[in-house]
Symmetry: C2
Subunit: 338 residues, 2 copies
DNA sequence: CACCAAAGTGGAAGCGGTTCCACCATGTTT
DNA sequence: AAACATGGTGGAACCGCTTCCACTTTGGTG
């Protein structure tokens, strides 16, 4: 029912090849013929079938993004960056939300299977060995964001350095007993940022000959409630820390809630530092590490397009810079009362 | 290079038609033949081409979502609901971010143009007349969320009722001078929720013979900063209101910031009510209207699928319920000091 | 003036599926 | 035993585009 290239050709009194050439701005068409074809296109309100085009060209002009839980604020910012970059490049974006390892495998398999996309970006999520092999076999280019895999191009922020900066900031304020609230380790998903940030904090402490007590490190669910639980545990230890570092802002909000619950004044009694600098961090005046989330998305797209063009020559690992944003939740350590 | 249905047919010693029948679980295939085909598929690790399938079937199993500014928290929740419902139905989701009217037209045109999708959902965004005509012509089913158009199926929450409930809540607390911070009116985008909520508040006041002073109504940019600006304006009037209603939580956060800035204690000196009950509302203990955001997404998908099935018989307008969540930013009106 | 390169052009083949139609065995009915 | 459903099956045609190849025209060139 919809008009096809043949209808246009007939109307313009030319062959389909010529119409196709006009559509694709190819040179070898006489100016007068081109005008006639364009007129026919306009008259018929013709639009080429993207599907037929795909089949013929073996290109879809679409890329897929798979990410853990798309409602996580940092994930959203990254997707936003991706969306911008793709739109600018005239590509479509298909999105898939992944919440468990099984669903990840399923999603990856599906992504590798269809010829529906030209490339894929994984956010905070790395494909498993078998899935990766599948992808390799299909030749689909892939870029990871905030995830690690030895042999896959990826965009990450310098988590260890970020942790280090957080640690130094707290040391400067006189804190020596520092706690850490992190995400659950999920080696299966290939995401290590929480652990890397912890490592940075530890390194900063070690520079001063200090350490972090194992009972002051708790890893729990990535949610406000999870952060609150973890902080509760830490704060109920004898001799609790005077500062808590959270692996991300969402957890930090939970830490703030736990502090409030215990009647601790932030930052007088307890300093809290987050990570990511999401929008809401400003809302509660949270001191946090800023990382360029949106840029991580655009950078991933840049890499992906370069791979598609065959012009990619960057390092496997692009590292984005971070910087500390000092707000209202950190202050000098309280005098030791005990 | 990838294996095709022909490869499978050859390997299994059958015709392509038979392989196709097996792939689509059609009945008329002998059990022994079916087994042989399945074996061949497994051996070759064959996956049918989605594109070829699309071309032949004239169905894409993909739907598009166009929304204003995808980083708005309420929009994200809606998308989340859509994503869930689509994944459950085995459909793909393509996303397009729209920020201006021009970009909207462009996006709509593109959506209506390609044969790449089976349907579309618009969030807080209605197509313009010309674009709508285009969509109609293309026969593409469309559902709107949080947007209005006489003749397009849509999912909205009962904004007037929500506003009314907010108004009554404040009246019960003894507030009589109430301010309103809203989104800019954008008739071109077909989004009226801010105005509808305002209308509800006004209706509640009228029930008591009260009104809302025009200088206590300010509409500004949909952002924290915008809300802050608007609230500043209102609070600097002589005889400012004792309560401010914001058309959404993001604006309410701005109102809170403006109050803090002026040294007003919330809720002692000023009550603040938001709308949406986004995640961060809980974080700052904001009293707000809850509306089922995620459900709005699933409902929109349900409608869209029904239209695609030809089984849709619902009203053009699905209205979702709202309810007030009382938290810490509303309290009895202060004694009149003047 | 014959010859040839270059610019334009038409249309068949191919992309990888689905489906319809023709056809072949069977088993069942008269 | 002839007539005939019926379950299986192969394969051509088709979906709507791109591209390659063959062909015609035109304007130089020797």
């Amino acid at each position: 029912m919809p008009t096809t290239i043949g209808d246009v050709a007939r109307r313009a009194g030319v062959g389909v090849g010529t119409v196709s050439r006009v559509l694709n701005n190819q040179p070898k068409v006489g100016p007068e013929t081109r005008a006639r074809v364009l007129a026919a296109i306009a008259e018929l309100d013709y639009v080429p079938s993207a599907t037929a085009r795909q089949l013929s060209l073996r290109r879809t002009n679409t890329i897929a993004v798979a990410s853990i839980h798309i409602v996580i604020p940092s994930v959203i910012e990254r997707i936003h960056g991706i969306e911008r970059a793709l739109t600018a490049a005239g590509l479509d974006l298909i999105i898939r939300n992944v919440e468990t390892v099984e669903r990840r495998n399923e999603a990856v398999r599906e992504i590798a299977r269809t010829d529906r996309i030209d490339g894929a970006i994984f956010i905070s999520l790395a494909p498993g060995a078998e899935e990766l092999a599948r992808i390799r076999r299909s030749g689909l280019p892939v870029v990871l964001i905030d995830a690690h895999h030895r042999s896959v191009p990826r965009v990450v922020s310098d988590d260890v350095e970020g942790g280090r900066l957080v640690g130094r900031h707290l040391l400067e304020l006189g804190h020596t007993r520092i706690g850490f609230v992190g995400d659950p380790p999920r080696p299966a998903l290939g995401v290590q940022s929480s652990r890397m940030r912890l490592r940075g904090v530890i390194e900063a402490l070690q520079e001063r000959g200090l350490g972090i007590a194992p009972e002051h490190i708790v890893e729990g669910e990535h949610s406000r409630a999870g952060g609150q639980d973890s902080a509760r545990t830490i704060l109920s230890r004898p001799d609790p820390p005077t500062a808590i570092v959270a692996a991300n802002d969402t957890l930090a909000f939970g830490v703030l809630a736990a502090a409030r619950e215990r009647g601790l004044d932030v930052p007088r009694d307890l300093s809290v530092v987050g990570y990511d600098d999401i929008d809401a961090a400003d809302l509660v005046q949270l001191t946090t590490m800023h990382q360029p989330l949106r840029e991580s998305g655009t950078e991933a797209v840049r890499r992906l397009l370069a791979i598609l063009d065959g012009t990619d020559n960057g390092p496997l690992r692009s590292v984005l810079p971070v910087h500390l944003v000092k707000r209202g939740t950190t202050a000098p350590a309280p005098e030791r009362t005990a």
